[in-house]
């Protein structure tokens, strides 16, 4: 199955893309997708600190690693948010 991955904020710079389609095995969960992306980041300049602080949303809802993905899902990788003012 295929899911669309969206990158925001600093992750967009790190992955060099706004979005991409990723092929996953049937029944794959959020953690399986993260493992694939994590392996890929070893080839780019990735600060572990940021990768560790990421949250995930599936179809615009915050999701845990065990959430099972489905064909066509929209999975967003969200760095710590910084809206408003300080």
């Amino acid at each position: 199955m295929r899911v669309t991955v969206l990158y925001f904020g600093v992750l967009r710079d790190m992955f060099g893309a706004r979005d991409e389609v990723v092929e996953l095995a049937e029944g794959a969960a959020v953690e399986d997708l993260l493992r694939i992306l994590d392996g890929r980041t070893s080839n780019v300049t990735m600060e572990a600190r940021i990768w560790q602080s990421v949250a995930v949303a599936v179809n615009r809802e915050y999701a845990t690693p065990v959430v099972v993905l489905h064909e066509g899902d929209e999975v967003a990788l969200l760095p710590p948010v910084s809206g408003g003012c300080d």
């Binding site: 493992r35 967003a76 948010v81 910084s82 809206g83 003012c85 300080d86």
Partner: protein, 151 residues
Amino acid sequence: MLIEIVDGPIAAEAIVAGMKAGSDGAVCVFDGIVRDNTRGRQTLYLDYEAYREMALEQMRRLAAEAVEKFGVRDVAVVHRLGRLMVGETSVLIVVASAHRGAAFDACRWLIDTLKKTVPIWKKEMFADGAVWADGEPFPEDIALPPRGTVQ
């Protein structure tokens, strides 16, 4: 409830005026504006971006939760995206209530919670380069548990 994400200036005065009703004894306004520095480093402007549909939905839920939790009458939450110059409003929160205590509490809770959970990010352009703002750590119920695969 007025919940919006906008790409142009936020008409703060008009929004505040529009929030007042006869049964209100207090209107508490939080007007978040772009400061001219971060930790002493001169800021030229900020670029805000959002996961727009999710941010709007999160803002709607926060507003509804504030009404429920604090018993205030009405809430407005408006966030602006794009390039903002020093002094411009990035976020406006207005809480109308019969009494001031609930209005203050709800307003404070709304901005604090928005800053931790609503998917909006800002990049700060300084005189000597641009950086994404650090952001606040996600609350425990949103953050992913630590994974052993990353050193």
